[in-house]
């Protein structure tokens, strides 16, 4: 391993300077039109960066964000109960880290990402004057997450590691309910009404619950559309095409307005439940088309081979076809999840106070009128980090071929 001094020296030695020049000549300056393009691009970059930099450091007033940071993340969740949300965050980071350790191993790169992310959050929190408590929580959570990543990787070298890998889905399942319990309360904790679940908390919750609910429905619809049975095929196709022809906002509106009309008057459905119902029903149609792509990629020989082995249709589907089909479309399913995550922003139009909804209420605070750009920039950053993170993770994730 060479030291950074030698690396620095080789990077700027005459021979490597020549190398850079050759690279630049080939990639930036090969023809006259290319030179022109390079200049135009440099111009665009310079203008954008200077304008953005000047605005961020001199004109923007970040007070509107720092004062409302708690509102953005958890909304009007009772302050004395916020420790429960910190625990949720801890689970939210620990379980994926553990799974990543088990599935992919835990090396330097993962630690660097973990420490970088943790340090970034701690830095942002410290810069925005939130006091000592969040910093302490974040440091603690980062440490535990790193530890669980290493634990996951280490467990795979132990004899008891294999069953852990098999039982991971169950762990996720249980974690989800524990988190739901921590958020909503009951069973010894103070109950917190759903009207106080706002901000990023609500966005994440709605996104996760909707995708979990829409997944089985989507798979059933995809199977139905591929089915040999005419009634089932027509019903599935009709549902998928109907939903895909409508805008999401129309479906959410329908869920808010029509659902109470379609249920007996004595049953009242929570606004949050109606929103989740709308999102899941919407997402299932799109997921069905994704899964159908996977089903179509399975060669007919697989069906014939399993029939020759004497497996019935349900067994063939659940043991042979679906596992293969779902594995090929995992990236597309992640893409679907990303778009569902983005779509949760629409809930603010039908009156839920999730991340976008809270932004609307912040920009209408009398003392921060007109501070739109600051709020939407921070909001955009949060959404972007989640979406981009998911897409990068799905590209990096290599699924074991044998499972």
């Amino acid at each position: 391993m060479e030291s950074w001094q030698t690396r620095f020296k080789t990077a700027f030695s005459p021979s490597s300077r020549q190398k850079y020049w050759i690279w630049a000549r080939q990639n930036l300056l090969s023809t006259w039109s290319n030179v022109l393009l390079t200049l135009v691009s440099l111009g665009i970059i310079a203008t954008t960066l200077t304008a953005l930099g000047t605005w961020i450091f001199t004109q923007a007033q970040w007070e509107v964000v720092t004062v409302n940071l708690r509102l953005i993340f958890v909304g009007r969740y009772p302050v004395e109960q916020i420790w429960r949300l910190w625990l949720v965050l801890m689970l939210l980071v620990t379980v994926p880290a553990l799974s990543w350790g088990v599935m992919q191993g835990w090396g330097r790169r993962e630690s660097a990402w973990g420490i970088g992310g943790g340090a970034g959050l701690v830095g942002a929190i410290t810069l925005s004057n939130q006091g000592l408590e969040p910093t302490a929580w974040l440091c603690c959570i980062t440490g535990i997450a790193l530890g669980s990543g290493y634990l996951g990787a280490w467990s795979q070298q132990q004899p008891w590691g294999k069953p852990l890998k098999t039982w991971l889905p169950l762990l996720w399942f249980l974690t989800f309910f524990v988190m739901l319990w921590l958020i909503s309360g009951g069973l010894g904790l103070t109950t917190v009404s759903t009207t106080f679940w706002n901000g990023l908390l609500l966005t994440l919750l709605v996104a996760v619950v909707s995708i979990v609910l829409s997944f089985p429905l989507g798979v059933f619809l995809a199977l139905g559309r591929q089915s040999q049975l005419p009634v089932i095929r027509v019903v599935s196709t009709g549902y998928i095409e109907l939903i895909r022809g409508l805008p999401l906002i129309g479906i959410l509106f329908m869920a808010q307005v029509m659902l109470p009309l379609l249920l007996p008057p004595q049953i009242t459905v929570d606004q949050l439940v109606r929103a989740i119902a709308g999102l899941s029903l919407f997402s299932a149609a799109y997921l069905a088309e994704t899964v159908r792509g996977g089903l179509q990629s399975i060669p007919n020989g697989q069906w014939e081979a399993s029939r020759a082995l004497g497996l019935s249709t349900p067994l063939t589907l659940s043991l042979i076809v679906l596992p293969q089909a779902l594995r090929t479309v995992v990236p597309a399913i992640v893409g679907q999840f990303i778009s569902l995550f983005k779509d949760t922003a629409l809930l603010s139009i039908v009156g839920l106070v999730e991340l976008t909804g809270i932004a609307r209420s912040i920009t209408s605070q009398a003392e921060y009128l007109g501070r739109y750009a600051e709020v939407y920039l921070v909001l955009g950053l949060i959404y972007w980090l989640f979406c981009y993170g998911m897409s990068v993770a799905s590209r990096r994730l290599e699924l074991p071929s044998g499972s």
Partner: protein
Amino acid sequence: MKAVKSQPWNHPKFWPWAAQILVLGLIGLLVAYCGSNLVANFQQKQLSFGFDFLQSQAGFNIGETPIPYQPTDTYAQALGVGIVNSLRIMALGLVLATLMGTGIGIARLSSNWLVRQLGTVYVELFRNLPLLIQLMFWYFAVFLSAPPFEQRIRLLGDLSLSQRGLLLPNFLPRVSLLSWIICIGIGVAIARWVFRTLRRRQLEGEPASPWFMATITVIFWGCIAWVLTKEFPWNLELPAVRNNNITGGLLLTPEYSAILFGLTFYTAAFIAEIVRGGILSVPKGQWEAARSLGLQPNLTLRLVILPQALRVIVPPLTSQYLNLAKNSSLAIAVGYPDLYSVSSTTFNQTGRAVEVILLLMATYLAISLTISLVMNLYNRRIQIIER
């Protein structure tokens, strides 16, 4: 050997039929349950079903009215305004997003490293942000935060950006447009014939330049049109500003500009990825084969690469077009009176949930079906014809 008694459920057709009847039964039960609840709820709230409310006076104002409308007009007229407003956004958005997306998609394949990186940054930035956030950013942070008209940001001449919106030149059709259309139509028809004849001759080995002659034909008929009418069919009308009064030109309101920019920038990021994937899907050997046949680079692109790439591009492009059409309903977030926004106001005033939703569904389904029909026809034209 004991004879096995044949049970009905062992019959190979039994389970498929049972499953179908079960599904039908469940759907029937669901419909009956929801229907009876709907009737009960209607009776309890003393609502009635019917579309006659469309003929009563709407009484609300609409910000942008491309077709005549006053608050004293009917709900039907108001919804008509909404539909036209929606179509206005969709049409321009589709064209601009396609152009911009194609440009960025090609930029991502550029041989210039910097251009490629810029394209990647654009795509990753705009694809991973919710459209609603982008719309609100455009509306609140850009167009509403623009300076008042007196201190407008001048872009070029009298074209400007201010709180009143984007001031752009307008294309006005003249009376002679009809004569122009007829002349050019005749020209194109003759040019087609000329092109086919010359192309056949060219393929038989005789020297001929079909493209050149066809173009000349169209230009010739354009000249005839010019001689007949002595004017251009379009009048490029530049806006003029005197004492802060705008005359002429095209003023895009902040609402329209915000939704147009938001939809275009968002959809362009997706279209760019589709275009890039399509061009990458053409094997490298095709470029090399075309070059070894002596085809020039632009001919290679037009005759060899594009026809093959289009086959891959068009199906996902169709679904992006549909997304753009559906996403235009987010206009309500910036207060642009599109179909969804007008319907929402109508529902709030009349309380006719079922009727409004039915109208909304029917209109959006009709628009979606039209787009996919047109795109499928186009798709069928460009697909490989297998012999």
